[in-house]
């Protein structure tokens, strides 16, 4: 656990660096937030007062430090448009996004790893071609296509599931499949190719020579060795889903972080946009930390180096 602490501390500079980058980028983009907020018909006096209240009269570096200290106190500023603290807006939207992400990745992992294993075992036979065909479709068909397709079949025609989100778990099933489908495809391909490689390894012969069944050889010996790259991929996918599935959330009208980000962009709501991008950063950082921890659980060689 000492190494985990070390990793966490090592992430602080990354975190600050990313924030600096966001801060600068959003200020380079044209458009004065005060004007966005006030519209056009206000006196210079009002503008000056607001600029002062928003700390926009201070040097950019000081603004950044103020923002930074706010972040460490859990204060991400006020949304210009919604007139609410960004922190509470994100906190309201986050549960929907997290539930959707967990459902989608569970789907992706079961389907992806499962079909990857079957394809690897039946290498170059019919099941392999069928599953790999599906996975290719999963990777190449964009989310909005598969989402519309699922809506058409399961909501419109079969009337099994709700068309859009009503806050219930049931209404998240279709979005989860639409979102997970894409990940499942790449997980399946990666699982297959790594498992095929692992099954070529010398220790597989050793395991067979012991008299182990094929099942025990695959699940006891090959699978664990083939999972490292797959875990990296899954961690990246999970963290990107956690920071909001923009397209899926829009199509299914899910009030999640993805929608928050789209709204922020459309309305030039800088603090809100900063807040959502910050959340993405945190998710990606924790995603890679999670992957690292899982590596060392699976592979003892990494444990020692850490």
């Amino acid at each position: 656990m000492k190494s985990v602490m070390k990793r966490l501390i090592g992430m602080i500079p990354v975190f600050i660096g990313v924030m600096l980058l966001i801060f600068v980028l959003l200020r380079v983009v044209p458009g004065d937030p005060v004007q966005v907020l006030l519209g056009e018909h206000y006196s210079q006096d009002t503008i000056d007062r607001l600029t002062k209240a928003m700390n926009l009269d201070k040097p950019v570096f000081e603004q950044f430090l103020l923002y930074l200290s706010g972040v460490f106190h859990g204060d991400l500023g006020m949304s210009y448009v919604m007139k609410k603290p960004v922190t509470s807006l994100i906190m309201e939207a986050l549960p929907q996004t997290v539930i959707l992400a967990l459902m989608a990745s569970t789907f992706a992992w079961f389907v992806g790893i499962g079909s990857g294993i079957i394809a690897a075992i039946k290498q170059n036979k019919a099941p392999d071609h069928i599953f790999m065909g599906f996975s290719l479709a999963g990777i190449s068909v964009p989310v909005f296509m598969s989402a519309l397709f699922l809506q058409y079949v399961f909501s419109f025609k079969l009337k099994l599931l709700p068309l859009s989100s009503d806050g219930s778990l049931k209404s998240l099933i279709l979005p989860a499949i639409a979102l997970g489908w894409n990940s499942a495809g790449s997980v399946a391909r990666l699982t297959r190719s790594n498992l095929v490689d692992a099954l070529q390894a010398d220790y597989i012969d050793t395991a067979k020579a012991k008299g182990l069944t094929n099942r025990a050889v695959i699940f006891g010996h090959a699978l664990r060795n083939s999972m490292l790259p797959v875990i990296t991929l899954m961690a990246i996918q999970l963290s990107s889903m956690m920071s909001g599935a923009v397209v899926t959330e829009s199509i299914f009208a899910i009030p999640g972080v993805g929608r928050l980000a789209t709204n922020a962009i459309q309305t030039r709501d800088m603090p809100l946009l900063q807040g959502t991008v910050l959340l993405t950063t945190v998710m990606v950082i924790f995603g890679s930390l999670l992957a690292d921890i899982l590596y060392s659980v699976i592979d003892p060689r990494i444990r020692r180096e850490a």
Binding site: A201, D202, Y203, D205, T206, A207, K208, A209, K210, G211, L212, T213, A216, G220, H221, R224, N225, I298, D299, P300, R301, R304
Partner: protein
């Protein structure tokens, strides 16, 4: 059926079906392993030694497969067993040690667990504690220091020599009747090699098991084998008891191998090598497979494949000249050096 032999390979043909054609890796090999004996199978890389071993253990991988022949083990033909029957024999009656101790152990599992697995898969681990005790006992027998601590070590935490000892422990824990060792010491340095060979010989004599040791190293053969088969391009070209073979090699290839051993006191600037390379197994020459490299080859050698002929009581050679040279013992070492 002779009961003196533990394993009898009869006319084994194994081929690899590549995209470029059929590669005849094992061509009608006959090989017999008497009970309690250490038999060597020698030859250059790519001569079919490992394919023979893999044929026995059913470890051939697509696109390699056995075309014909019988592999009799205790009267049962291994080539006709079901997968389940073969699994029962693998690890319990026949076990195998591989060339690369670095890659032959699963890197993510504790070595103790990997050895224990052999017990468990054959239903011979009554309880967890007993299994662990047996494994540690076996570790001690194969000379692993601090056996108890090593039980929970991972392969990368052990040296090459220790890993090979773990492999031996794994292969020997159920006291198999036959141990197949495919280049067991090739990846180890010479001092460790000697230790491992001694260990294998001692364990063999203790438990009365037979060993088939596959190697390209005649030094290894001289160290522990009692009987030797020499293989070339998928054919057995000579087989004889160890002293016979070293004193009176009959086949020009064997003679060449002998001449290629560096000798202490010999000319350090000059190391004999057999001219030419092993023929491409996709396009084997007609006649004797060694004829292309043989300095004594004649017209006839390039036309017909010689039979294995008996040249001595238990000495066979696949060379038309084998009988004729019987009396010319003195030529044994000199033959290839022209």
């Amino acid at each position: 059926m002779s009961s003196d032999y533990l394993l009898e390979i009869e006319d084994l043909h194994t081929s690899i079906y590549t995209d470029d054609g059929v590669l005849r890796a094992v061509n009608g090999v006959n090989l017999r392993i008497p009970k309690g004996t250490i038999v060597g199978l020698v030859g250059e890389s790519g001569c079919g030694k490992s394919m023979t071993a893999r044929s026995i253990m059913r470890l051939l991988r697509h696109p390699a497969r056995i075309d014909s022949g019988r592999i009799l083990f205790g009267g049962k033909d291994l080539t006709t067993l079901t997968d389940k029957e073969m699994r029962e024999i693998s690890g319990r009656d026949i076990s195998m040690i591989f060339q690369e101790p670095m890659t032959s152990l699963n890197p993510v599992l504790k070595v103790g667990f990997q050895v224990e697995e052999t017990l468990r898969v054959h239903g011979l681990a009554a309880s967890k504690e007993e299994a662990k005790r047996k494994v540690i006992e076996m570790f001690e027998r194969v000379g692993i220091p601090e056996a108890e601590k090593r039980y929970s070590a991972y392969p990368h935490e052990l040296s090459g020599g220790l890993r090979q000892r773990v492999m031996i422990a794994m292969a020997m824990i159920l006291k198999p009747k036959l141990l197949i060792a495919d280049e067991p010491t090739t990846a180890l340095d010479v001092t460790i090699e000697a230790q491992i060979l001694r260990l294998m010989r001692d364990l063999c004599k203790e438990s009365g098991m037979s060993v088939l040791i596959i190697t390209h190293n005649l030094g290894v053969v001289a160290e522990i084998c009692e009987y030797v088969y020499v293989m070339y391009a998928g054919y057995i070209v000579e087989h004889a008891p160890i002293f016979d073979l070293f004193d009176y090699p009959r086949h020009p290839y064997t003679k060449g191998l002998m001449a290629s051993i560096p000798r202490i006191g010999g000319n350090p600037e000059y190391l004999y090598t057999i001219p030419g390379v092993v023929p491409n197994l996709l396009h084997l020459p007609e006649g004797c497979p060694f004829s292309l490299r043989c300095s004594a080859a004649e017209e006839e050698c390039r036309k017909t494949l010689p039979e294995l002929v008996r040249t001595d009581e238990d000495h066979f050679s696949r060379c038309v000249k084998a009988c004729g040279e019987q009396s010319l013992e003195g030529r044994a070492y000199g033959a290839g050096r022209e």
